[in-house]
Amino acid sequence: MQLTDIVFYALALMTICSACVVVFSRNVVYAAFALLFTFSGVAGLYVLLFADFLAVTQILIYVGGILVLILFGVMLTSKVVSVDMKTGTIQAIPALILAAVVGGTLAGIFYATWKGTAAPALGPETTTPGLGTQLMTSYILPFEIASVILVVALVGAAMTARRSRRKANG
């Protein structure tokens, strides 16, 4: 039992508990804020896995971008004044069984197959130069496609979210 193990258990507990709040909370705002802790916990797990660049990216994009976007969505689509932020669930029992079966199967397979796989000795090294080199050499085509996808997605999102002219005039 080393310090990293304790940190791992703490981070895993934080991630899973806050994910449970996201999934089971009846209040949309509580769920959105619990998502903050889930994303932060996952970033911490990345740090434990020696993925420093990914951890920072996770904080920047998920916590700083996607979560803010989701909060905007919550605020813009809920009737804040009339406190209509509660939401229900449907088919809870079948979905619970399905999720338990899928999650249990996955966890069992993972545990049985990869139990005791020790980490290869890897000194503390930064991953950013390696990632940059990979993106500019082996993964140059997916990289360019991803940039095009981002432009298309953001322009499309801006166009879609805009009020239609006909509706604004009428």
Partner: protein, 117 residues
């Protein structure tokens, strides 16, 4: 012999050393929670949160195998692409949700069953 330190050591001995399977099990639990959210939530934004949970679970798997499986950078590059696509997906999906809200005054996924009014 029962110093506080030894008691703490004994307690900590119950937890096994962390290896690859621990990370994978955490990601499996996150995946199952995301699946449950997608299946049961009625609010479209909460369904989106479930999708984000599933994507994060997949990312944990990719990074864990990048560390333990010997494929050093490739897993992390794949995780970066997943994050990029998640950002694009969140932007598009929330724009669609906003549009649906303006049109139908609800984002309850059960009630939105018509393609046009």
């Amino acid at each position: 012999m029962n110093t506080p330190q030894s008691i703490v050591d004994e307690l900590l001995a119950w937890f096994p050393r962390v290896d690859l399977s621990h990370f994978l099990v955490v990601s499996a639990i996150l995946f199952a929670l995301g699946l449950y959210a997608i299946a049961t939530r009625r609010n479209a934004i909460l369904v989106l949160m479930g999708v984000e949970l599933v994507l994060n679970a997949a990312n944990i798997n990719l990074v864990a195998f990048a560390r333990y499986g010997g494929m050093n950078m490739d897993g992390q590059v794949a995780a970066i692409f997943v994050i990029i696509l998640a950002a694009a997906e969140a932007a598009i999906a929330l724009a669609i949700v906003l549009n649906i809200y303006q049109r139908f005054q609800t984002i309850n996924v059960d009630e939105i069953s018509a393609l046009k009014e």
